[in-house]
């Protein structure tokens, strides 16, 4: 290459770097405008309504440490980068959000940016709260500022190693993946469907757990435009289920009433919730109005099946039961089921209505990712005690009793019996979940 040509390339390269730096800086150091409707200044906020908005958004669970004071933060969340802690959202002026203006509050709720320009990690579901209407945020802000006691509790520092702890790249993440548009009413659907869609996509932030994520930890769909939305995910050592209309691992065989009952009581004819979903029912969905849980159920039931490729199927069959009753069950997993599970879940896999979950056709059993199934077998689980169903029934863990290979055989048996048809589970997968659950415990 000749010298003038080389110089031209050098200059062009430097120019590109400079331009990129300008663009990046503009994105990174920009404290965005939260875009609140001017009409809000003439509206009187309703703190009582705001309290219900807080329930719909399940603010209390994440922003309260186990057995700690309400809304004072401190709950630990393990992320792929490291452990982060929720912040104090009481109206304390120094450690909480007492000094926030409505614009500051809306900015952090929709864009994940604090008044000083610090970016929040998207563990705070601002990607969902961006959908929430101005009036709802105004009322929520009024509730937080006037009805919650201010508590001086300093937020705990994150445990994320440098350089991953540098926060400005989150601005680029937001630019690439965040959709900060409001919820848009679908004129072709009725008001109840729209209410359900608004809640699911916004305050209830169902997609935070139930929508699959990409390699940058971004939810693959934030507003229900594709059939990947709410199609099941993998999070920590759990596998939130597919909520779409698939008849195997989804909610295709559930009625609207089944879904509403599960949200109100923590259990239904088909299943029961434990773990993170139990927390969601315990702190949020059980307190939703009947109309709101029904709206959510109507919207969820309207979701088309996710792509079937690689997913489980279910066609009820009594051959498993007949084999066991004939005394000819020989498979290692089947024998473990008979010894340790059948007393509650029954030989038919049908459990007992609203008491012991049905395993035949249960989405948690049939999930592409069997993590939640394995976790419940290893450590057990507890159904939340709710106003509609006060008994907090628990399943004991069996991790002490069986090896990884045993549990893999058992999980494989439950995924291939009574008409269930899902891929087998390996001992290595069980070993991985066992390690994750052990390291996730606070005493570790």
């Amino acid at each position: 290459m000749s010298r003038p040509a080389r110089n031209r390339w050098l200059i062009a390269g430097l120019g590109l770097i400079a331009a990129a730096t300008v663009v990046v800086s503009a994105v990174v150091y920009h404290v965005p405008d939260p875009a609140i409707s001017p009409a809000l200044t003439h509206r009187t906020p309703d703190a009582t309504r705001g309290e219900y908005i807080a329930v719909l958004g399940d603010c209390a669970f994440c922003h309260t440490e186990t057995a700690g004071p309400s809304y004072a933060g401190g709950r630990a969340f393990s992320t792929p980068l490291g452990t982060i802690y929720s912040s104090n959202i009481t109206p304390d002026r120094d450690t909480g959000i007492g000094a926030y203006t409505l614009a500051d509050f809306v900015r952090v709720m929709r864009l994940g940016v604090k008044p000083d320009g610090t970016r929040l990690y998207p563990a705070m579901p601002y990607t969902a709260y961006a959908k929430v209407a101005d009036e709802d945020l105004q009322d929520l802000f009024a509730y937080v500022q006037s009805d919650i006691a201010p508590l001086p509790v300093a937020s705990r520092a994150t445990h994320i190693p440098w350089p991953l702890s540098i926060r400005w790249p989150l601005a680029l993440w937001n630019a690439a993946f965040h959709d900060d548009s409001r919820f848009v009413t679908d004129g072709s659907k009725d008001s109840q469907w729209n209410r359900g869609a608004y809640l699911v996509q916004g305050l209830a932030h169902c997609g935070t757990c139930h929508t699959p994520r990409g390699i940058f930890f971004e939810e693959k769909d934030l507003r229900g435009r594709s059939n990947l939305y709410l199609s099941g995910s993998g999070l920590d050592a759990t596998s939130p289920i597919n909520l779409r209309g698939n008849s195997g691992d989804g909610l295709g065989r559930w009625s609207t009433a089944d879904i509403a009952t599960l949200l109100k009581s923590g259990r239904s004819e088909h299943s029961a919730v434990t773990g993170t979903m139990a927390d969601a029912v315990r702190h949020s969905t059980q307190y939703m109005t009947d109309q709101d849980v029904t709206s959510i159920a109507i919207y969820v039931k309207s979701l088309s099946p996710a792509p079937e490729h690689g997913r489980a199927s279910f066609v009820a069959s009594d051959s498993t039961m007949s084999t066991i009753m004939a005394g000819s069950e020989r498979s290692p997993g089947g024998r473990i089921y008979l010894d340790s599970c059948a007393a509650c879940h029954r030989l038919s896999g049908s459990g007992e209505n609203s008491t012991f979950p049905t395993l035949a056709g249960n989405p948690s059993v049939l999930s592409s990712d069997p993590s939640s199934l394995i976790g419940v077998i290893l450590e057990g689980g507890r159904v939340p005690s709710t106003a509609a169903a006060p008994s907090g029934l628990a399943m004991p863990g069996f991790g002490w009793r069986y090896s990884d290979a045993d549990i893999a055989a058992l999980a494989t048996f439950t995924r291939s019996s009574w008409g269930n048809n899902a891929p087998p589970v390996t001992a290595a997968k069980v070993a991985g979940i066992r390690d994750q659950l052990r390291s996730g415990r606070p005493d570790h």
């Binding site: 009753m325 029954r346 038919s348 057990g380 863990g397 009793r401 045993d406």
Partner: protein, 245 residues
């Protein structure tokens, strides 16, 4: 009790109750918080698994006592055409291991006085701990055997041993040191049955052989589907640690 006394004690009761009420609220509050916050599950794992071992060495019993325990176990449940005996299933190991538990020191009982010889329906009234029952009971039985037959219990023929144990059980043979029928029925016989039929994790019932003998299917807990079936239950037993016999 005069009516005045009744008034006073009612007032005392009310005063005490009112004083305790805030405490009760606190305690209830804490309990609720513990069960509501997070997934605090009761631990479901049992005591460690200690099945019987072939070369067991006793840790409480002396060698003479250990010989007595083995001889008595062999007579209480001998091996016969129905099934294995207590010794083959590790029952002596079970009893020796029980001597290392809080139960053996009376640690789970009220063990303060007064000590009366109460009627049977009042339960165990002695100040002797299970450990003391075994130490004194074995010594007293051997003393009786020496007095009557000039040799220790273990040296007697099987028929003589049976006769001694039967007389002790009936109460026709006893000691001034302690009531031997209480030692026999309340401890030795009871512990032999526990070891023989209990879960193998405690050292007896080796390989669930006692369960297999009587057709007991172990700890599956529920057999509703088999109710009404006109044939024997088709699966062998399972233990607390999930092993199958």
């Amino acid at each position: 009790m005069s009516s005045n006394d009744g008034q006073t004690s009612r007032r005392d009761f009310l005063a005490t109750t009112l004083a305790l009420a805030p405490l009760a609220v606190t305690v209830v509050g804490q309990t609720a918080a513990q069960s509501i916050n997070g997934e605090q599950l009761p631990s479901s794992s049992p005591a460690p698994d200690h099945p019987s071992v072939p070369d067991y060495r006793p840790s409480y019993f002396t060698s003479a006592e250990w010989a007595f325990i083995n001889a008595a176990c062999a007579r209480i449940i001998p091996a016969d055409e129905h099934g294995p005996g207590a010794v083959e299933l590790g029952v002596p190991q079970y009893i020796d291991r029980q001597m290392g538990t809080p139960w053996a020191d009376g640690g789970i009982w009220y063990m303060q006085g007064p000590f009366f010889a109460g009627a049977p329906e009042f339960g165990y009234q002695s100040q002797l701990t299970p450990k003391q029952q075994y130490r004194m009971g074995i010594k007293a039985i051997d003393t009786l055997c020496h007095e009557r037959l000039n040799m220790p219990f273990v040296a007697l023929t099987a028929a003589q041993q049976d006769d001694v144990l039967k007389q002790i059980e009936k109460g026709s043979l006893t000691s001034t040191e302690l009531p031997l029928s209480t030692f026999f029925s309340g401890f030795l016989l009871r512990n032999v049955m526990e070891g023989y039929f209990g879960d193998p994790m405690y050292g007896g019932n080796k390989d669930m052989a006692a369960w297999k003998m009587i057709g007991y299917p172990g700890v599956r807990a529920d057999y509703l589907e088999w109710v009404g079936q006109a044939k024997p239950y088709p699966y062998g037993p399972v233990s607390i640690y999930g092993k199958r016999g």
